[in-house]
Amino acid sequence: MKLPLWLKEFFIQVSITLLSILISFIVGAVFIVIAGANPIEVYLKLFEGIFLNPYGLAQMIFKATPLIIAGLSIALGFRAGLFNIGSEGQIIVGGFLCAYVGFTFTNLNSFVLIPLCLIAAFVGGAIWAGIPAILRVKTGAHEVITTIMMNFIAMALTNYFITYHFHLPETVHTQSISSSAFLGRLDHFITAFKGSPANMSFVIAILLCVICWWVISKTPYGYETRAVGFNPNAAKTAGININRNLFTTFLISGGLSGLASINFIMGYKHYFEEGFSQGVGFMAIAVALVGQNNPFGIIFSALLFGALSHGTLVINALVPKDIIQILEALVIFFVISSNIFAKKYLSRIRD
């Protein structure tokens, strides 16, 4: 059988990933047995709760949405050789600015306010990434250190604003944003999704994936970025302004992270709450790695992580939470390490 090479590679990639998920489930079964439950029963319930149930599917989408956007942000950075570990902080600042715009300009209509909120989220994330970006370009300070530190500053700063200026009495969240900034829930269109907060942010996330793919693979900027990430010295020799490219990429990466906040703020609770990001920025690193920094790969890996995250609830009645966290970690571990084998194998069939 003569398959085109890319299709063959795709199949191999997918089957290796599925196989590694299977292995992680087999290893996970050991822990489930130790916890005194029946692994088959647990896995059946997991499958049933996520895929055979519209609500489960919707929850998977809801959980995957911020992971897709933040995963893109990380992947874009990786492509340019940047390790943006500050996604979490950028989500928080972007979310805060987004909510601030949302509850301040309440007299605007949806056509103005929704884009304005999206821009605010992007700008918030970009500003927060801008500081490490300047430090990197001007002084060479490594972004891993600076972005991690910026995470703590973001949390402390927004906590301060919430507790002393913006919170509603006896809560840790702001007032609600204007209803014209709400992103519609998907259950308006698909009634089976009823109850799930999955919302239009998912569509925005998919659009962002397409845009990112186009920018990376079809524009001069994307070409430069890939060149810088692949070999900075060669890129420099070829006349690419490395610092300018790194700076721009850093800002866009931060802006994308900022946009990851819209799923919660414009789509679900409609306010900024202390700690709403729940580690999405860190999980996104794993999402980008599993998705191999490919915008479409990221959609799939984010859905996988979304499914697992919802799955923790589904099977929580059967096994303790800790066991499911072990299972999640096993999946990450096996999928990422299988990528190494996949790369070796693929390069062999290419030759």
Partner: protein
Amino acid sequence: MSRNKILIFFTLLLMIPSFSCKKTDKLKDTRPAIALVFDVGGRGDKSFNDSAYNGIEKAKKELNVQFDYIEPGEGADKESALRQLASDKYGLIFGTGFLFTDDINTVAIDFPDKKFACIDYSVDPNKPIPPNVLAIKFKEEEGSFLVGAIAALMTKTNTIGFVGGMDMPLIHKFEAGYLAGARYVNPKINVLVGYAGVTGEAFKNPAKGKEISLSQISKGADIIFHASGSTGLGVFEAARDKKIYAIGVDSDQYYEAPGYILTSMVKNVDVAVYETVEDYLKGSFKGGLKEFGLKEGGVGYVYDEHNKDLIPQTVINKVEELKKMIIEGRIKVPSV
């Protein structure tokens, strides 16, 4: 190749338990099903969540019900967890903690034929409680009244202290009851009051708790009651350092500083949970606000083998008398 064999061997090995066990009745289990969603703190907090769990365990043993629970991993999962249980076989679903208020309201409206109960529900006068939601609240002021009386009867310096966590209405109830109880038995008593802060952080700041306690002790306080979460650990430390008594809160905190904990004002979440299950089984579950005070056994103070030697019998007699008077309605305990 041998690696593959090992893999196959393990796979087969893992299948053994699935064939051997659980052929029985999962499907045939027709006992009424109840479920509980823990707060993010989850099981093992030695306080609130564990107490709720004990209540359900007791119900499971004595009332013949089946019970499952979920520990949500993150804040946004609370609603999802409730919804998932509601769409399953469970007829009665508990949420533990005031943070569940909004989520329970939303889910209860979508599942009108299921029953919900929220512990420490925060009542918003502008939002009605859905008819299938039981809002469980505790009369913390009544329990605080009794420990206030104990403190006032036992002080040698005529000065006692109160350390609150966050300066908010829920904690003011403890303060009001404590003050009323102390003044009831000794109108001339001097009560020192301090709060650790105005944010949620005030419930987890032992250093601040110790600082406030030490300042109260230096002003003569020899018994201090706290209602401040883990900030209270600082109060206990101060009590141990300065050899005075402290009074615990929510659950029996004797073990935090044995010998220095005079008693604890306990909030019997387990009693409330058990009773709710009982009502549900009898078909007498009714939505709306339900308060658990001394009369309902929802609050109380600890007097057992640990602190029997610390509190004289005469004090206990007096306090039991006050308890009776509150239950009979002869004493009205203020909550603000």
